[in-house]
């Protein structure tokens, strides 16, 4: 299979189409506009539909309708637009509707900025909508991983009957890298007897719904949903481990930040300082299992994020007090430099020697 050079935002669209996405509903917002633009050009060529909705709110509700019919569908936005979608997302989770939501993160809070950020970690993993629900959240670090995970997202969404979120940032959305649209292993997908596709007078009506007025029924529903999330925790944790053996400090970073951290690790190796990296690929479920792989040589952990510190809480929870956890971050669209991370790590190693 040959490789193609594509811009991140467009590659997401191409991957979705390859995965059988038949409906895309979106709204313009920087820095993801290339994705709805690509879909407006390409969807109809593959028997799919594209609608530029009147708002991100309308788009996520169109997803609710299409997903309820059992059709693969996707929406995308960036941070402030994802904030708007939170109502729709909790409804999707409550009604158990397979769907894919892409967030190309930009600085916040509020209108924020248009430069890359990782400050929607809490929004993605702690739910921005009401109630007890979780999303399966993928955070690719390069475009190849992005196109693979976007395709896998559609399968996972159907397997778990749950919305799945793919988190990128402005860098991933705009960068161009060679990618291969590989044939991924075929997943076993459940049937959709619940879909609203017309009774044809042959079955009882299906109802897509998240309302359960009787407390006993709503509790049962919540227990069922939590069982799904526990299965995700057990089966879906994904991460990359890099240079953990003999590491004096282990960094935790995801997405494009992890690539900058790897540059710092390589530079410090030349100075005789060993630093490792745990790179979460799923933000939820957080890859707690990865932290058992940390070597005895490691005396401290450094979380690096393009935020004021959100994932760092999950790192502390995963370590459960085993090691001290420090944080280095930049905000507002400022990109951390390898040099700054190296300096921070030198200080930490100096302190732990």
């Amino acid at each position: 299979m040959s490789k193609v050079l594509m811009k991140g935002n467009e590659a997401i669209g191409a991957a979705a189409i390859k995965a059988g996405c038949k409906a895309f509903f979106g709204y313009p917002i920087t820095p993801q506009n290339e994705l709805p633009e690509y879909m407006s050009k390409e969807m109809h060529k593959h028997g799919g539909v594209f609608v530029q909705a009147e708002s991100e709110v309308a788009a996520i509700n169109m997803i609710y309708g299409a997903a309820g019919c059992g059709v693969r569908c996707m929406t995308s936005s960036s941070s402030p637009g994802i904030a708007l979608k939170q109502e729709g997302i909790t409804y999707l989770a409550g009604a158990e509707l397979p769907s894919v939501i892409v967030n190309i993160v930009r600085g916040g809070p509020g209108l924020g900025g248009i430069q890359p950020a990782q400050s929607d970690y809490n929004q993605a993993t702690r739910g921005g909508g009401n109630g007890d629900y979780k999303l399966l959240v993928y955070a690719p670090a390069n475009l190849q991983e992005m196109v693979d995970l976007v395709q896998i997202s559609f399968d996972k969404a159907e397997i778990y009957r749950n919305p799945v979120m793919v988190v990128g940032d402005g860098m991933i959305g705009q960068m161009m890298e060679p990618i291969e649209f590989r044939e991924l292993p075929k997943a076993e997908l459940p049937a959709k007897p619940w879909a609203t596709d017309g009774t044809k007078g042959q079955r009882k009506p299906n109802v897509i719904n998240s309302l359960f007025l009787k407390p006993e029924e709503l509790e049962d529903h919540n227990i069922r949903l939590t069982n799904k999330y526990n299965a995700m925790k057990e089966n879906e944790q994904q991460w990359e481990s890099f240079n953990l053996e003999n590491a004096q400090v282990v960094c935790v970073a995801y997405g494009t930040t992890s690539r900058i951290v790897k540059n710092a690790i390589t530079a410090l190796k030349a100075e005789g300082i060993e630093v490792g990296l745990i790179r979460p690929i799923t933000l939820w479920p957080f890859p707690e299992k990865a932290f058992a792989q940390i070597a005895d040589s490691t005396k401290a952990v450094l979380t690096v994020e393009m935020s004021m510190g959100q994932m760092v809480d999950d790192v502390r929870l995963a370590l459960n007090g085993r090691l001290p956890v420090d944080f280095y971050g930049r905000s507002g669209g400022m990109i951390p430099t390898p040099e700054a991370i190296e300096q921070k790590l030198r200080e930490m190693v100096g302190g732990t020697k």
């Binding site: 038949k22 409906a23 509903f25 539909v49 609608v51 909705a53 009147e54 708002s55 709110v57 309308a58 788009a59 509700n61 169109m62 997803i63 609710y64 309708g65 299409a66 997903a67 309820g68 019919c69 059709v71 569908c73 109502e87 729709g88 409804y91 009604a95 609203t196 596709d197 017309g198 009774t199 044809k200 007078g201 042959q202 009506p205 299906n206 109802v207 897509i208 719904n209 998240s210 309302l211």
Partner: protein
């Protein structure tokens, strides 16, 4: 003995929760009968609102989707776009459609999505206990307008049919009422026309149905029908506001 009248096959046997004198029961029945008469019940997907008729998904005998407050037209758009051969309708109250859902109803008409909206206008928020709606009349009391609605600070009531009729994509807009049997028969005709409009692929149709809310109006069911006729119809005139141009 010949069957003269029976519950429509378009309704389930579930007993509705509506108040005595509530016109939702009548309007549900009209929609259900039309779907059966047009032979499309098995191809229909309805979208229920948030409001007293949130439980409409239990009463219509077809596939249903429960939407977030005001979002039914967007949900219906998602359904119709991926299943264009199905019959799709939204059933919404005045808070759902004329307040929180104004963007969604305008844009479903703007895009002329080929689906039908049944808009139940009873000039009040029923389910939540009688708050002011965009359609509450001047001087009418509501729990959030305890001294009566005033123009100042609250605005004139919103005439949605007239507003929607200015949108080119809103190709069939009619306002009807259910305050007496003659009106009910006309309402059913309008609803049937709207669904036929959808079946002919002519674009977006909406039927606004003036309705009563005895409980929150503080009137008896019979007084409510009179109040509707004397107060709502003068402000919300009945009739067709937009229909497709005759083919030249």
């Amino acid at each position: 003995m010949a069957m003269v009248y029976e519950r429509s096959e378009g309704l389930t046997i579930k007993q509705t929760h509506y108040c005595p004198g509530c016109t939702h029961g009548v309007i549900h029945k009209l929609v259900a009968e039309v779907l059966v008469e047009l032979g499309v019940l098995g191809e229909t997907i309805g979208v229920a609102p948030v409001g007293c008729s949130v439980l409409a998904y239990d009463y219509f005998n077809c596939d249903m989707s429960e939407a977030a407050h005001g979002r039914a037209p967007a949900v219906a758009t998602g359904i119709k776009r991926v299943m264009p051969e199905k019959v799709v309708f939204t059933y919404q109250g005045d808070g759902d459609l004329a307040s929180i859902g104004t963007a969604e109803i305008i844009h479903v008409a703007h895009r002329s999505e080929n689906l039908t909206t049944i808009f139940v206008n009873n000039a009040i928020y029923g389910m939540t206990g009688g708050q002011m709606a965009p359609t509450t009349l001047i001087g009418q009391k509501a729990t959030t307008a305890p001294y009566g609605r005033t123009v100042e600070g609250m605005g004139m009531p919103l005439r949605m049919s007239e507003l929607m009729a200015t949108i080119p994509g809103a190709t069939y807009i009619e306002r009807v009422s259910v305050h007496n049997p003659a009106a009910i028969r006309k309402a059913k005709k309008a609803i049937k026309t709207a669904f036929e409009h959808q079946l002919a692929g002519k674009g977006f149709s909406m039927v606004e149905v003036l309705s009563t809310c005895p409980t929150n109006w503080g009137l008896t069911p019979v007084e409510s029908l009179t109040w509707l006729e004397e107060n709502m119809i003068p402000y919300y005139p009945l009739g067709v506001f937009r229909k497709p141009e005759e083919a030249k």
